[in-house]
């Protein structure tokens, strides 16, 4: 099977409101930077393009089509889209390369969540007969998950605050983070609850922005002469939409995806986890069996800036950056989608 590598990654700043900027205006600067990293003109220089976005976020039907205006798609290109986080667009691109239909691919994700009320918008991804008509929002569902864990003694509120404090601290070195700085566990615990037992700090900020990645065969990466990291494994699994069927204190789908992706085949220097809520980082850390030897979310993770439909791709990009710079040899990137970690994708990256 062809070995596939990541050769470029860029993400915009996470901002709470991107102003009048439209989809194409959000995407273009990020694409320019990944093209420049490899020395490409535009999407004509890759074999395949796949994007991830969700029109519900900005409330504009077929908004994703406007994104194609950022590509330079004249003459026509091979292009696809997933109504999901762009981490799944990367998955589709890997399949395209493995099937021999492409040697290189550009993947981008973008989200402008500020125009709507994000937790309410996300309620409409639930089952349409029972849950969506009740407008059960994403924060309330996560709060029930956290309550289960606290009640069973699996975590404490201090554990959750610990995750937040570390995220904000790590984010100080991430120029694209929205929330960063030194904050103590005591300060966090002194805040009142928002949707109990969650405090506002346990929840991700609403962010606007985009990210992009370029992948290719190892042969192509050598031809381009750029630093690269090898994607040694990738897999994704989904759990039932019926929340009552799931053990919300665990992430079975992450565990299965991690096994299939070969996470356990070596040590893990760095992990970037898409945990929108503080307690979910603890679930994922335990599920993946991460120990003190693994640096978790050195970017600050999505508690520091949550680009819907792009942050999953960014997790992969953040691990790539650390391998390409030589800081890490082997790393794991995780992406999630749906309520309470319903759908999970795990990618293993290794140095060349």
């Amino acid at each position: 099977m062809k070995k596939i590598a990541i050769v470029a990654y860029n993400q915009s700043d996470c901002v709470s409101w991107a102003g009048a900027t439209n989809e194409v205006e959000l995407i273009m600067p990020v694409l320019r930077r990944v093209f420049d990293q490899v020395g490409l003109n535009n999407a004509q220089d890759v074999d395949f393009v796949c994007s991830g976005s969700c029109d519900y976020l900005q409330g504009a039907a077929f908004a994703f089509v406007a994104g194609v205006d950022a590509l330079g798609a004249v003459p026509p290109i091979k292009e696809s889209h997933v109504e999901m986080d762009a981490a799944w667009a990367l998955y589709e691109s890997i399949l395209k390369i493995r099937m021999g239909h492409a040697d290189s691919a550009l993947i981008y994700g973008f989200g402008k969540s500020s125009p709507g009320e994000l937790p309410i918008v996300l309620s409409q991804q639930l089952d349409p007969y029972y849950l969506a008509p009740q407008w059960v929002d994403s924060i309330s569902l996560a709060a029930m998950q956290a309550r289960l864990m606290l009640d069973q003694g699996l975590i404490t509120e201090r554990d959750m605050a610990d995750v937040v404090a570390r995220s904000r601290g790590n984010a100080k070195t991430n120029p694209h983070a929205q929330l960063s700085g030194d904050v103590s566990v005591e300060e966090l615990l002194a805040q009142e609850t928002y949707v109990s037992p969650l405090r506002k700090s346990d929840c991700p900020p609403v962010s606007d922005g985009a990210s992009a990645v370029i992948i290719c065969t190892v042969e192509k990466a050598r031809e381009w002469g750029v630093p690269y990291a090898i994607i040694s494994g990738i897999d994704h699994r989904i759990e039932s939409h019926n929340l009552a069927m799931r053990d919300l204190t665990d992430s079975v789908s992450t565990r299965k995806a991690a096994e299939a992706a070969g996470v356990g085949a070596g040590s893990i220097d760095v992990a970037e986890l898409y945990a929108p809520f503080s307690h979910q980082e603890i679930i994922l850390t335990r599920t993946l069996g991460l120990t003190d030897k693994t640096l978790v979310n050195p970017s600050g993770g999505v508690l520091a800036g949550n680009l819907m439909m792009a942050s999953g791709l960014s997790r992969i990009g953040e691990v790539f950056n650390r391998i390409a710079s030589g800081e890490a040899q082997r790393g794991v990137a995780h992406a999630t989608s749906g309520p309470c970690l319903q759908h999970n994708l795990v990618t293993v990256l290794e140095s060349a």
């Binding site: 900027t21 205006d69 125009p115």
Partner: protein
């Protein structure tokens, strides 16, 4: 006792979501000029094409179009159709003309209405000019131009459509 149940063929689940929608930086600049009665385009730094209305990028090159160009409100018919069905809530009565028009100084067409014309005589290459609403009605909207109407100017040969300077035939 009947075991028959009424077949459910549908349920009402109304969805109301509120958004603060924004058009984009480039469309906002364009609409601000339209409110002043001026048509503008944006030029691609790569291929040099001028887009009207601009969307912020050159779709052919994938480059941001930041240079603003003032255009004429005279235009050339690139294509057209005669529509026999009414536009909902619009006073324009069928049959009427929808046309692809290229304003002088721009390279790509936009779609607008034509009127004050003999529908059967409308043709590709025909010269037209905007009929603006009265100034006090101007808003951030393309319908500040009520429609385009034919003007007494020589037709533009097909190969020159999309290549007329902003000065039109006067150049």
């Amino acid at each position: 006792m009947s075991q028959e149940r009424e077949m459910i063929t549908g349920i009402d689940v109304p969805i109301y979501l509120q958004y603060k929608f924004t058009a984009g930086t480039a469309p906002a600049r364009f609409l601000s000029q339209v409110k002043k009665g001026v048509l503008t385009g944006q030029r691609c730094p790569g291929c040099g094409n001028v887009y009207c209305p601009p969307r912020g990028s050159c779709a052919a090159c994938g480059l941001p179009t930041e240079e603003e160009v003032v255009l004429s409100d005279k235009a050339t018919v690139q294509s057209f159709t005669i529509v026999a069905i009414p536009i909902p809530n619009n006073p324009i009565q069928p049959p009427y003309i929808i046309a692809n028009l290229v304003p002088d100084g721009s390279n790509l067409s936009f779609i607008h209405l034509m009127s004050e014309c003999v529908n059967e005589e409308v043709h590709i290459g025909q010269r037209v000019q905007a009929l603006w609403k009265s100034e006090e009605e101007w808003d951030y909207a393309m319908d500040n131009i009520r429609y385009f109407k034919p003007i007494d100017e020589a037709d533009v040969p097909v190969e020159r459509i999309g290549h007329m300077p902003v000065t039109g035939w006067e150049d």
